[in-house]
Every structure is written in C-alpha cells, then in structure tokens.
C-alpha cells in the first residue's frame, strides 16, 4: 500500500515535476519534436494494431460459435432418387435429438452460393451439384457419429459434413491474426522504446557539458536523470495522445460494418473497447520513462 502510494507520488511528481530541474537542461528543440512525432506515429499505428487484434478476436469467437452450431448434409444421388433421399434425411433429422432445424437448400440458393466461384450463368441442370441440407443444432448439439451411422444405413448417398474439418483452421487463422495484432503492439512498443532511447541518449550526450557542470555543483545522478526522464516522458505522453486521437478518428471514419461487410469493415472498436486505445498514451509514457531512465543511467555511468 505504502509502496503503491510512493509510486503514485513519484508519478504525480513526474507530471507536475520539479520545473527547476527541467530548467537546468537547455531546451532541445529538434530532438524534442522528433520524439513527440515518433511517439505520435507509433501510437497511431498501435490504434490500428489494437483494432485488428480486437476484431480478429471477435471474428474467431463468432466463427467458432456460429460454425459449430450449423452443419450440412450433402446428398449425391442420381436425379430420380434425389427427392426421396432428401426426404428420408429430413425425416431422420427430425427424429435426431439436438437438431433444432433442418432445411433443404433450394437449387437457386445453391447457385447463389456457387456464383462467386463460377459466375452467374451457371447451368446447374447439367452439373452434378449435390443437394445440400442445412442443419442447425441446439446448444446441446447432436451426436455426429450416431447420425452418420444412421445415414449410411438408410440413405447411402448422404454425407454429413459437420464443418469441424474446415472450421478449425479458420478459427485458428483468426486467432493467429489476433496474436499477430498483439505482437504488432509489442513491436510498436519496442520500437518506441528504441527510438526514445536513441533520442534520449543523443540529448544526454549533447548535454555532456551541462551534466559536467551539474555534477560539479553537487548534483547526484538521480537528479540529473530526472530532468531528462521527465522531459522525454511528457513528450511521449503528449505525442502518443495526439497519435491516438488521430488514430481513433481514422478508425471511426472507416465504413461501418454491414452484414456483407465481413472482416475489413468490422475493424472498428465496439462498445467499451473504445476506451482501450486511451491506455496507449499511458503505456507510451511508461515506455519512455523506462527507456530514458535506462539510457540516463548508462550515459551518466559513462560520463565520469
């Protein structure tokens, strides 16, 4: 508790700061602007990486849920037996526990499903397109093994495709995408740390004479470091704040998600997730704090 309070106090002191200490280091115009810009650009990218990660997470969840609850039965039979077999399958499904709904997909709908691949003028009659039956499960699900056995016994042309075979890689892909998004955020953080380290190191080296004078008058390392750390942390905070603001506006301006939109237009934030990007500037400031502290400690050790 007291530790937490000490850390909080340190944070507050950092933000409000010791303007005296800050004054002792001459203003460094160019590196200052570069740091702010870099932090801003990185925060902007982080907003998108976060959106990507959240959206693919949503997608993975939706797919695994939706796909798991529907399966299809494919009937490949000579045209004259097709209707009878379809009916037989529907009868079996009605008697199968765990099946909420079963529906034979009409020929036009099947054509619409194939259209993206074969174009609009598909001569369905001449192709041996199988009859499809869509099965929607209840939440409890049915026993695919039992159903399969019954189908082979009674309707030899019917094959149950319970989607598990191709559901898994899709959900996996979405999960991977989510991990990639998170990884991007980490990389962005690391790059920010690297850039701020370089900037801080340059600023410290450029101020070697100032540091020498400060030491001469009895300044301890912590005091000297603080002047630089405070400056870079505040710059990163403001830069990242601006970057996040721009990023959020850009995400907000994306076309909204429609039924047909799919993944890309679903990239925006939903609900309370809009709050998450606001954490980015705080994280950026934290990264700058750690990076500058480490750089200052190193440079001050070398400058003796």
């Amino acid at each position: 508790m007291t530790r937490l309070r000490a850390i909080l106090a340190e944070g507050v002191a950092l933000v409000i700061g010791d303007p005296q200490a800050d004054r002792l280091v001459p203003p460094t115009g160019f590196t200052a602007r570069l740091t702010t810009f870099a932090a801003g650009a990185m925060a902007f990218l982080a907003v998108f990486a976060l959106a990507l990660s959240l959206a693919s997470g949503r997608l993975a969840a939706r797919w695994s849920e939706e796909l798991a609850r529907s399966s299809t039965i494919r009937i490949s039979a000579p045209a004259e037996e097709r209707a009878a077999q379809t009916e037989a399958v529907l009868r079996i499904l009605q008697a199968t526990p765990g099946v909420a709904q079963a529906r034979a997909i009409p020929a036009e709908e099947a054509a619409a499903l194939l259209e993206p691949w074969f174009g609009p003028n598909l001569p369905l009659d001449t192709l041996p397109v199988p009859q499809l039956i869509e099965v929607v499960e209840e939440s409890t699900g049915f026993d695919p093994q039992g159903l399969r056995l019954r189908l082979t016994a009674e309707v030899p042309g019917a094959v149950l495709d319970d989607h598990t075979r191709w559901r898994a890689p899709l959900v996996q892909a979405a999960s991977r995408l989510r991990i990639l998004g998170l990884l991007s955020i980490l990389l962005i953080g690391a790059t920010t740390a690297a850039m701020i380290t370089l900037a801080a190191q340059a600023a410290l080296a450029a101020n070697a004479q100032v540091i020498a004078v400060l030491r001469l008058v009895g300044a301890q390392d912590g005091y000297i470091a603080q002047a630089f750390v405070r400056r870079f942390t505040l710059r990163a905070l403001s830069g990242a704040g601006i970057g996040v603001a721009f990023g959020l506006v850009a995400v907000w301006l994306l076309p909204s998600a429609q039924e047909a939109g799919g993944f890309l237009t679903g990239l925006g934030y939903r609900g309370w997730h809009w709050v998450l990007p606001l954490v980015i500037p705080v994280l950026g400031a934290g990264v700058a704090f750690v990076a500058t502290s480490a750089a200052a400690r190193r440079v001050l050790r070398e400058l003796t």
Partner: protein, 261 residues
C-alpha cells in the same frame, strides 16, 4: 559604492558565521582521526603514461590556508582533483573528512562537493541561465532553493560585486567577473573547504587582490582554503594578511616551499 559593498559583505559574513557554527556539531564528528579535512597518504598519480607525482603525503587541517604552486604541467590541477574526489589516486590513499575516496560512489562524490566548494581553472557555467541562477545552482540541485536560502543569494552577489550583473548571461561576463561568479557559486553552500585552481589566472592585479580578499575573509571565518596558483605575487600578498603554508610540486614530489616566498 565600496562602502555599500562592504556593508553587504558584512551582512553576508555574519550569516555565514552563524551557519558555520550551527553546522559544526554534525560535521566534526565525521572527520577522521586528527580532524583533517583532506588527507593524502603516500599518494601516486599517473594518467596511464609516466607517473605525474608519487609518494605524496599531506594533512590539511581545518581552518588552514594553503597555496599550491609549481610549473605548468606539474600536476596542480590533478592534485586538486584528487582533493575533491574527482580523481582516484593510482596508489596510496586519499581521505576526505576521514572517508577513503575509494569507498565513495558517484553520488557520494556529489554529496562531497556540497562540503568542498571548487573554483575551476576553466570556469564553466550553464549558459542558458542567468548569473544569479548559476550562482544558486548548488542550492537548486541539492533541493535547498527555498526562499530562505535564496535570500542570501543577493548578499552573496553583492559580496563578490556582481549584484548589478545578476541577470546577465555568463557569456556576457568579463574574465574577472566569471572568476568571482565561480567563487560565489563555490561558497554558496557554505562549504567547509574551498579549493581554487588559478582563480586569478586571467585577471589583472587589482582584481586578483579583490579575489584574494574574498578568500582571506572566508578563511578568517574558518573555511579551509587551498589555492593552486603560479602567481608568486599573489602568494606574497596573502602572506601579509593571513598565515599560509605554501606547497610546491616539482620533480614529482610535494615540498614545503621555503622562505624565499
């Protein structure tokens, strides 16, 4: 003008004395055996090449006034650096207020500099700050820049005759003014010891006298003084006002200079 300056000087001095007495209780206890402020014991120093000097021993008693002289390049500046912890000897032991400098970290050395004021040969300031801010720098970095403490600043600036230049930038000061500002900065923490490296290096005789006067006044109040200089006239002038010891570095040894000075 002179009268005014003297009055200001007296005011600042009286303050200084009071504070000195207040401090005494805590600082003396920390001094080593014999109560020496600076103690060199068979010290040798080299910068990697040949030995600059070797087997030097010296005890600086509190309240004493030492001059350090010797040819250019003999190692006067190096010697002073050993005396405030900026350098470590290659052999032997240096003790500051009884503490072996080998046991001091960088932060300890920083704290040491609040007790040992230094006027460097090549005086350096923070050029983006005013003269007053530069003189107050030791207070600022030690977190003692309260209004109380800063009240002395004005008198101190008057003492060194820089009150009118308080708001100037260091780059606008003349050589003598820079030296005086450096002295003011060195004494603002009311240190127990003041080390000055060629404080009269590039200023005229009259200004040298003025600076010497300031050092003598500090010494009369109990501050230990060690001045490195090659200016023999300055040493003679000092001898007529205060008891001093003159040390000379020559042939890699430290000797007590004879009565020829």
């Amino acid at each position: 003008m002179v009268e005014k300056c003297k009055a200001a000087c007296a005011a600042w001095l009286s303050l200084h004395v009071v504070c000195e007495e207040g401090k005494k209780g805590q600082t003396c206890g920390r001094r080593g055996q014999g109560g020496c402020v600076i103690e060199l014991d068979r010290v040798a120093m080299s910068y990697g090449g040949g030995e600059l000097f070797g087997d030097i021993s010296l005890k600086v008693q509190p309240g004493s006034f030492h001059f350090l002289t010797g040819p250019s390049g003999a190692g006067k500046t190096t010697f002073l650096k050993l005396c405030y912890g900026a350098l470590r000897p290659t052999a032997g032991q240096v003790r500051l207020f009884g503490q072996d400098v080998r046991g001091l970290g960088r932060d300890d050395v920083a704290l040491m500099r609040r007790r040992i004021g230094v006027v460097h040969q090549d005086v350096q300031f923070l050029d983006h700050l005013s003269v007053a801010d530069n003189v107050a720098l030791p207070l600022t970095v030690s977190g003692r820049d309260s209004a109380d403490q800063l009240a002395n600043l004005d008198e101190l600036l008057a003492w060194v005759g820089l009150r009118a230049r308080a708001d100037a930038r260091p780059a606008e000061l003349s050589g003598g003014e820079r030296q005086r500002a450096a002295l003011a900065r060195a004494v603002i923490m009311q240190p127990e010891v003041v080390l000055a490296d060629e404080p009269t290096g590039n200023i005229d005789w009259e200004m040298s006298q003025r600076l010497l006067q300031l050092l003598v006044e500090l010494n009369r109040m109990g501050t230990t003084i060690l001045v490195a200089t090659h200016d023999l006239n300055l040493i003679r002038a000092a001898k007529s006002q205060v008891q001093t010891r003159v040390l000379r570095i020559s042939n890699r040894r430290l000797q007590l200079a004879g009565a020829d000075l």
